[in-house]
C-alpha cells in the first residue's frame, strides 16, 4: 500500500465498515486529502498521523452489540496511545458505537425507541462549550442519520457529568428527537474536545449534490481537519 507522507488523517476500517468510501470521497473532493487506510488487524498507527476517523457501518455484523466486537480489535490497542499523544478522533455512527464500547467516551447506544432503522435528515443544535466544534459550527445545522441503534443512553450521574463538562456537542432539536436518545443527545466529545462521537453522518452532507442536508457536514469535517493540521 502506498501511503502519502503528508496527509495526516487515517481511516480505520473493520469488516463491515460501509462508509469508508464516503469519507475518502469527502476528503479527496473537498481538500484533495488522501485518507490513510488502517485495518482492524493492524498493530501500528503510523507516527505521522494526527487524526483518525472511525466510519459508519456494521462492523463484525454488529454481533453482540453495535461496535462491541470492533472495540476488541488489535488496532484499538493503538488508539489509547494515539489519544494520549494528542491524536484527534472522529467516530461516526458505528464509529461512535465503537468509541463507547471501547470506553473512549461514556454512555451506550441502544435500539431506536421506534424499533425502526431511521434514514432521514436530522435537525441538530450545537451546544455551547470549549471544543472547537462547539465554537466554530453554526448553532443549528441539519445532517443525515441512518441507524437502527442510535438511542443514546447514560445514567443520571453520567448525564450530569457530560452537562457539567460541556461535552454534549450535538442535540436533536426538541420535538425532533428521532430515536429516543436521552436529553436529545446526538453527539458528545471528550473533556478536552479531542474525541468526537456522533450518530449523524457529516460525510454525507458535503455538497448540495449529496442530499437535502446541504453542506453542514463539510463544516464538521473541516473543523476536525483544522484540529489535525
Amino acid at each position: 500500500m502506498i501511503r502519502s507522507q503528508k496527509d495526516p488523517i487515517a481511516l480505520m476500517n473493520f469488516p463491515g465498515s460501509n462508509c469508508s468510501y464516503d469519507c475518502h470521497f469527502a476528503f479527496k473532493n473537498l481538500w484533495n486529502i488522501k485518507l490513510q487506510d488502517v485495518f482492524s488487524c493492524d498493530r501500528v498507527l503510523a507516527g505521522d498521523i494526527r487524526g483518525l476517523i472511525i466510519p459508519g457501518g456494521f462492523s463484525y455484523g454488529d454481533y453482540l452489540r453495535g461496535g462491541a466486537l470492533a472495540s476488541w480489535a488489535p488496532i484499538i490497542n493503538e488508539l489509547q496511545g494515539f489519544i494520549k499523544k494528542g491524536g484527534k478522533v472522529l467516530g461516526i455512527c458505528n464509529g461512535f458505537q465503537i468509541l463507547l464500547e471501547g470506553k473512549f467516551l461514556p454512555g451506550a447506544l441502544l435500539k431506536n425507541t421506534s424499533n425502526r432503522f431511521i434514514c432521514e435528515d436530522s435537525f441538530l443544535e450545537v451546544s455551547t462549550g470549549p471544543s472547537l466544534y462547539q465554537r466554530l459550527l453554526e448553532t443549528k445545522i441539519s445532517l443525515p442519520i441512518a441507524h437502527g441503534e442510535g438511542r443514546f443512553f447514560i445514567d443520571k450521574d453520567g448525564l450530569k457529568n457530560l452537562e457539567d463538562n460541556n461535552q454534549i456537542v450535538f442535540r436533536y432539536q426538541e420535538e425532533k428527537n428521532p430515536n429516543g436518545s436521552i436529553s436529545n443527545i446526538a453527539g458528545i466529545c471528550s473533556k478536552d474536545g479531542h474525541i468526537l462521537g456522533m450518530m449523524p453522518h457529516p460525510e454525507r452532507a458535503i455538497s448540495p449534490f449529496s442530499g437535502g442536508s446541504g453542506t453542514a457536514g463539510k463544516q464538521v469535517l473541516e473543523t476536525f481537519l483544522s484540529m489535525c493540521l
Partner: protein
C-alpha cells in the same frame, strides 16, 4: 461444564423490542400479559474446574457479553 449467561437491559432502560411484543400480544387478546423484556442467552461450554470456570465467566460476562452502562447479566450453571 455448561453455563448460560442471560444479558438484559437494566430495569430502568426502555426495551422497545419487548414493548412491541407485549403490545402485540395484548392486542391479540392476551390481556394477562403485563410486561415483556427481551434478553439474550449465551450457552458456553468450559473445560475448567467449577470454581475457575465461574470466575472466568463472571469476568467475561461483565467485561464483554454485557455493557454495564445499559445492561445486567446473570450466570447460571446448566449441568
Amino acid at each position: 461444564m455448561k453455563y448460560e449467561v442471560l444479558v438484559q437491559l437494566k430495569e430502568e432502560v426502555l426495551d422497545p423490542e419487548g414493548r412491541a411484543i407485549e403490545h402485540n400480544l395484548q392486542s391479540l387478546g392476551f390481556k394477562e400479559i403485563k410486561a415483556i423484556k427481551v434478553s439474550k442467552r449465551y450457552i458456553i461450554e468450559v473445560n475448567d474446574s467449577k470454581e475457575e470456570s465461574e470466575q472466568l465467566l463472571e469476568k467475561i460476562s461483565k467485561k464483554f457479553l454485557s455493557n454495564p452502562t445499559s445492561q445486567t447479566y446473570t450466570l447460571n450453571r446448566l449441568n
